[in-house]
């Protein structure tokens, strides 16, 4: 496994090397989160292995955002366990998650629009030179590195001084992914990276996801598009109203089943006979309940 490859940058991010192991980098054991009396997430099990893409699917309000906020350190879980490298953790800031090698690329808040591309690339982990009172940014080196890294990812920009807000959505997303990869992330969380993108741009982002996986990163890919998920995913988890509805690896589930689960397929299948009574509802296309063979996780969450 390549779980130790995160230290190669300038040593700013990873403080502890991960032990060589085949276990999951990030693991949730029946984790949950309540906001006051609202239980947003309950009994969720998730394992993220290096060199694998774990897809988390779910409709709006299913708890996807809550899940990533727990893993990325923006919120804390209120029940269950959250383990990194087998050690229980509880992050209070995103910085702590970053130090463990967990980087998150948010759909809407990945960058600061008015700041130049290279400043965005190094934001929060700037390269500096010189002794303290005159310690300053190593601008030349940062620009050069950012340019190289972006070119490695196939993003060619004329001018790294242009505000990142002038880039297209896909380009911004890719800059954020390139940044996370460069800073030695071991786990990359992508929050609906393709939601706001066109077909072609989505394809580019999916390629970067595959590239990140091939570099040994564990990728958590949050989406509500089962087609995008099935193109790159190794493991699929479907969230529904804050609980885990499906937890299956690629060989246990087909795209059709995945799509059905996303569309609330199990419930629809159960209703099939009733629906058949209603004129004009086409039930031919709906699967029978017994056709759905993939293991369905219960709320007690043994996958």
């Amino acid at each position: 496994m390549t779980s130790t490859n995160g230290t190669g940058t300038h040593g700013a991010v990873i403080v502890d090397k991960a032990p060589e192991q085949d276990g999951p980098v990030v693991e949730l054991r029946s984790a949950g989160k309540s906001y006051g009396n609202i239980r947003a997430l309950h009994g969720v099990d998730l394992k993220v292995f290096p060199s694998q893409v774990t897809c988390v699917l779910g409709d709006n309000g299913a708890g996807k955002s809550t899940l990533i906020k727990i893993i990325s350190g923006l919120h804390q879980h209120t029940e269950g366990e959250f383990l990194v490298d087998g050690e229980p953790v509880r992050f209070s800031t995103p910085r702590e998650a970053l130090d463990k090698g967990i980087a998150t690329v948010y759909q809407d808040l990945a960058v600061v629009p008015l700041m130049p591309v290279w400043r965005n690339f190094f934001l929060g982990s700037e390269m500096t030179k010189g002794p303290w009172p005159i310690r300053r940014l190593d601008i030349e080196k940062m620009k050069k590195t950012a340019d190289e890294e972006l070119r490695n990812m196939g993003i060619v920009l004329d001018d790294l001084e242009q505000p990142i807000g002038t880039l297209s959505g896909g380009q911004r997303q890719c800059v954020a992914i390139a940044r996370a990869v460069y800073f030695g992330a071991r786990v990359l969380i992508l929050d609906e990276p393709t939601a706001a993108l066109g077909v072609k741009q989505s394809g580019v982002v999916l390629k970067y996801i595959a590239a990140a996986r091939d570099r040994g990163l564990g990728v958590i890919f949050i989406t509500h598009n089962p087609h995008h998920a099935y193109m790159v995913g190794d493991h699929f988890s479907v969230l529904r109203l804050g609980t885990m509805e499906l937890n299956a690896s690629r060989d246990e589930v087909s795209l059709e089943e995945l799509t059905n689960h996303m569309a609330g397929g199990t419930e629809l299948a159960a209703l099939k006979h009733e629906l058949a009574q209603v004129r004009g509802v086409d039930v031919e296309e709906l699967p029978e309940e017994e056709d759905l063979t993939a293991p369905v996780a219960t709320s007690e969450g043994k996958s």
């Binding site: 995103p94 629009p113 929060g124 196939g154 297209s168 990869v181 970067y208 091939d214």
Partner: protein, 359 residues
């Protein structure tokens, strides 16, 4: 680094991967003049030059060296405060208590050293502590509650305004503090905060030097250090900044404390140049500082601006304020002038921001 190079590029490189760096060829280089004009600092610089030329023509006394020194002095007292206010604005907040905080600082130093009959430096240091504490309180309350800085600092503005008057009356029985010019250390402190030196027969106030030194430091910090990067990011998009690991809380609180430092410095200048402090002053000054920062190209909503722009912004203020007097006009026009300048600057800012974020 190793891992980023071992892997294949994720996407086939766009056409012609020649030896030189390929360009994506979609951004046309605009003429230099146009690019310069789009920078807010350059805009305000030209504005300042225009105002200067205008008064040089219409008000002959302005051409005199000592008038210019006077104008620069006037600008510096605004400019020293406009700098931290501008940094805070770039960081996405603003401080309505900045004007009265100046007086609070001066009152603290004056009354403490007078009442306890101690060296004035004791009062100066105590005033610094108080000023920083006011900044800390503003920043802490803002970060803790998430309330807009307008409300938080409006609160401290009112509190300080009331405390200034009430405590001064309580202690001195008067609205002004006692004269401290014969106390220990006064001359020393005056040399630092309020002295005058001679340049070719013209008396220049030391604050002009401090103003330019602070502006140079602020520019360097803003553009060349981590901290400067953080200031831009917390103003530009606080959530993003937090998510990539920028210490947002530290940055915001320290910016408020920086305004406290500025208030202390200007407060000390007022104290040591006039020997006493009027406790009711300072109200309204905060808006002048904010206006100077906005005219200087700082975005009121944060995320963009410079430290050099507010220098020209403050100069325009000083120029107009004194220029009207030298021209022999009714000084009542001053505020009207300011309003026009402010609106003009805001419109230019808006245009620049739209251009920068245009897809």
């Amino acid at each position: 680094m190793s891992m980023t190079q071992q892997a294949e590029p994720a996407v086939t490189t766009p056409p012609a991967p020649g030896p030189g760096k390929e360009k994506d060829g979609r951004t046309a280089e605009r003429p230099l003049a146009l690019r310069l004009l789009a920078r807010p600092e350059v805009g305000v610089f030209l504005g300042a030059v225009a105002v200067l030329v205008f008064f040089l023509i219409t008000a002959p006394p302005v051409r005199d060296g000592s008038s210019m020194a006077n104008i620069l002095y006037q600008s510096s007292t605004i400019g020293i405060m406009a700098l931290p206010v501008a940094l805070l604005m770039i960081g996405g907040e603003f401080d309505l208590s900045a004007g009265v905080a100046v007086i609070t600082s001066a009152l603290t130093a004056s009354m403490l050293s007078y009442q306890l009959t101690m060296n004035v430096w004791v009062g100066v240091i105590a005033a610094l502590v108080v000023s920083l504490a006011v900044g800390l309180f503003n920043g802490w309350l803002l970060v803790k509650t998430g309330l807009p800085s307008f409300l938080v600092t409006l609160g401290t503005f009112l509190i300080l305004q009331g405390v200034n008057l009430a405590v001064t009356k309580l202690i001195t029985g008067n609205v002004a503090t006692d004269d401290i010019s014969d106390m220990d250390g006064f001359d020393q402190a005056k040399a630092i905060f309020a002295s005058t030196f001679d340049v070719g027969g013209v008396n220049v106030k030391i604050t002009v030097v401090w103003w330019l030194v602070f502006a140079a430091i602020a520019t360097w910090v803003l553009l060349r250090t981590k901290y400067g990067n953080w200031v831009f990011s917390v103003g530009g998009n606080q959530q993003s900044a937090r998510a990539v690991g920028v210490p947002v809380t530290f940055t915001k609180i320290s910016l408020f404390m920086l305004v406290g430092f500025g208030a202390w410095f200007v407060g000390m200048h007022q104290l040591f140049s006039f020997n006493t402090v009027q406790s009711g002053e300072g109200v309204g000054q905060e808006l002048i500082y904010i206006a100077a920062a906005v005219i200087g190209g700082c975005l009121l909503t944060g995320g963009a601006g410079s430290a050099i722009g507010p220098v020209f912004g403050a100069f325009m203020f000083g120029m107009v304020q004194q220029g009207i007097v030298y021209a022999g006009w009714n000084p009542d026009w001053f505020k009207a002038f300011l309003g026009v300048m402010l609106l003009g600057a805001v419109l230019i800012n808006l245009y620049v921001q739209r251009t920068a974020t245009r897809r």
